[in-house]
């Protein structure tokens, strides 16, 4: 008898999602799908608003990564003003994005995913969360919480608040960095770095074996991300690079404003989240991944000493780029280390306190694209305006969307590995969810959806009978 298993809502991710697992007559997995079940529609209601409102308006897409939308939006607006923003403004935007990387990665790692692999995939769901982590390992949990708070504080010190700081504006940023705030950030960098290094050491020790690293499955895909023109890890400017599993560039250096020449979006009736794919290979064959593992796999190296040493170790003994879903967590730690090192460089720049942080201009182009790396992956804002700066059309391709095909693949792989003869336990469902969590999806961003997102698992049998297992 065929069955369907639905996990709804998916827990410990940002937004609302559901997983369906389809079983064949023997009770083995035939297929699995990851559905995003809510729609927000920002693309539509941005129409008619003015260009200058867009960073603040699109920031409201998300409470976790508003900085990402603010920066992508501000970059798209810069393109429409046709200005090169002051150097200090770019450095400050970079600094805020690096702060965002630290806070978002720390949230994903310590709050959302660590409970699974530190407390156990089969641990009691009632304590398999950050509160349980605090009880089991208070020192590590405290450090993780302080690390996230540091990232948030960097955002606050630059933008005046931790969430939705409408600080990046078309042409630059709203206000410069004060000497006092620079000193505060500089003084807190060593603690942040020490926490990351300690966690990294712990992580490498705990997940040294290939078996453990393959826990959430492994598969080949292409990877997409920004790199500097020299091939270094990049998060704010640079060029788009698409690589294969060997790290060989399929698209070596694409001007990000030309993203539409390689990326197309497909849609399916069972989810609100679209499926961006590499168009020359078609859909769904053109699957690629973005985010921490994407960027780590795309770049040649970080360009900062400690992160480069760690990247070398990460790649040591591998014949190809990592395809392991679980390695997203590893990559997240590498990126936090790289981010701290880059913050040190940015804050040491002689011009970082300059008051010249904004270029003024009118509407000089009718179309603008802003691309940068959000913690979850490449984020694209694309606007068309009329001659007065009123938005006529907006298109967002959000990090989580890029990973949609891969998340579906991950769910399918994990379900096939663990569900045999129709036997499903709560621990198995949690592993399937873990496959989604590894990508740290932000579903409210990706479809502009409302509210929190717990996950539900539905089992649908061949005769249509349905069993629902909820995790709330």
């Amino acid at each position: 008898m065929q069955r369907e298993i639905h996990i709804e809502p998916v827990t410990r991710i940002e937004g609302h999602g559901k997983i369906s697992v389809f079983l064949d007559e023997k009770g083995d997995v035939r297929d699995a799908q990851f559905h995003v079940t809510e729609l927000r529609g920002f693309e539509k209601f941005c129409e008619g608003r003015t260009l200058w409102e867009m960073p603040g308006l699109t920031a409201r897409i998300c409470g976790i990564c508003p900085v990402s939308h603010i920066l992508a939006s501000a970059k798209a607006c810069d393109a429409i003003l046709a200005v090169r923003i002051p150097r200090t403004a770019e450095l400050l935007r970079r600094l805020m994005n690096l702060g965002q990387f630290v806070q978002s990665h720390a949230l994903s790692f310590f709050y959302l995913s660590a409970p699974d692999f530190l407390l156990g995939w089969d641990a009691d769901p009632a304590t398999r969360n950050v509160v349980g982590l605090v009880a089991a390992n208070p020192e590590l949990a405290r450090k993780g919480i302080r690390l996230r708070a540091f990232g948030q504080e960097v955002i606050d010190r630059l933008g005046g608040k931790r969430i939705h700081p409408a600080w990046a504006v078309p042409g630059g940023v709203h206000q410069p960095l004060s000497a006092e705030n620079r000193a505060w950030i500089v003084s807190h960098l060593p603690e942040a770095k020490a926490t990351i290094l300690e966690t990294l050491a712990l992580y490498k020790k705990a997940f040294a074996s290939a078996e453990l690293r393959n826990l959430l499955g492994a598969f080949d895909s292409m990877y997409l991300g920004l790199v500097t023109p020299d091939g270094l890890w990049e998060h704010y400017t640079g060029v788009l690079r698409l690589v294969d599993m060997k790290g060989k560039a399929i698209v070596p250096a694409l001007d990000p404003s030309q993203y539409a020449t390689i990326i197309k979006e497909a849609s399916e009736p069972w989810t609100y989240l679209k499926f961006p794919h590499y168009e020359p290979m078609g859909y769904p064959e053109g699957m690629y991944r973005v985010g921490p593992l994407g960027r780590v796999n795309v770049c040649d190296r970080f360009g900062t000493p400690m992160a480069d040493r760690e990247l070398e170790e990460f790649r040591a003994g591998e014949k190809k780029r990592s395809g392991r879903v679980f390695d997203y967590h590893y990559a997240r730690l590498l990126e936090m280390l790289g981010a701290i090192e880059q913050m040190e460089v940015v804050l040491a720049d002689a011009s970082i306190l300059s008051p010249h942080v904004r270029a003024e201009a009118g509407i000089n182009e009718l179309e603008g694209v802003g691309v940068h790396e959000a913690p979850r992956g490449t984020l694209i804002h694309h606007y068309h305006v009329d001659k007065n700066g009123v938005i006529e059309k907006a298109n967002f391709i959000v990090s989580t969307g890029h990973n949609n095909l891969a998340m579906n693949r991950a769910v399918r792989e994990i379900a096939k590995t663990y569900i045999k003869k129709g036997k499903v336990t709560e621990g198995i469902l949690n592993r399937i969810e873990g496959g989604i969590r590894a990508y740290d999806p932000c579903l409210s961003c990706s479809v502009h959806a409302v509210g929190h997102m717990p996950l539900r698992l539905d089992i649908v049998e061949a005769d249509g009978r349905r069993t629902t297992l909820c995790q709330e």
Partner: protein, 232 residues
């Protein structure tokens, strides 16, 4: 000139004849919320937020003159309830989303919502959707944020003398227009002085290029200008 004797919130006050209730209250440190009123401009009683209780009648304090023996309540339960409802109607009529508004943190409507304790709107929203007019090279108007206070119309007429701004239509469809309802950028009478921007209490009329929460207006400019002119 003989002074009049009035009682405001139980306090006996001597007031000069010819003054409005609002003027007398302000002179005596008694606060009455206002929106369409602006020192230096003619009062029209458009917003009704400055209503006071004459114990038997509610009147707008900005347009009602004091009379001898008048008893006035500025904070009675009745006026507070009416003011809040009036404010809710203003919010329901427009699209006032503070989070991405240029005037967030510097908006008189937002300040009133805080002052009057407006935590929710009990009437249905109209979800008005008017196209932003950004045709002027320096300024723009988002009529969804307009509360029809008429300050722009009055400052343009009374202080600048350009008569660019006016009202069109009636009732629920009334709106402010430039010249004969042409796009602002093509309104030939506009001198681009920017006074309408400074007096607009919300983010409706704003400077182009201002991003979220960046508009800080200077409505006192009007009183300063009119005083300086009176001094010659």
């Amino acid at each position: 000139m003989d002074k009049l004797r009035v009682k405001i919130d139980g306090r006996t006050i001597l007031a000069a004849p010819g003054k409005t209730i609002l003027e007398v209250a302000e002179e005596n440190g008694i606060h009455i919320p206002t929106l369409c009123h602006l020192d230096g401009l003619r009062d029209v009683g458009a917003c009704r937020l400055c209503i006071v209780d004459l114990y038997g009648q509610l009147v707008t304090s900005c347009t009602t003159k004091v009379a001898d023996g008048m008893e006035i309540g500025t904070q009675t339960e009745t006026v507070r309830a009416y003011r809040r409802t009036i404010l809710e109607l203003l919010f329901a009529e427009g699209n006032h989303v503070c989070s991405f508004c240029v005037s967030n943190g510097g908006c008189e409507l937002q300040d009133l919502a805080c002052e009057l304790g407006m935590h929710s709107v009990r009437v249905p929203y109209t979800y008005r959707r008017e196209r932003v007019d950004a045709t002027h090279p320096r300024f723009l108007i988002d009529r969804d944020r307009c509360v029809l206070c008429g300050r722009c119309v009055r400052v343009c007429q009374e202080v600048e003398g350009a008569h660019t701004w006016g009202f069109a239509e009636r009732g629920a469809t009334v709106r402010v227009i430039t010249d004969l309802a042409v796009p602002w950028g093509t309104a030939e009478s506009c001198t681009s002085c920017g006074k309408c921007v400074e007096v607009c209490p919300t983010g409706a009329i704003a400077r182009k290029g201002a991003s979220n929460a960046e508009m800080r207006k200077h409505p006192d400019l009007v009183a300063e200008l009119t005083e300086r002119r009176a001094r010659g």
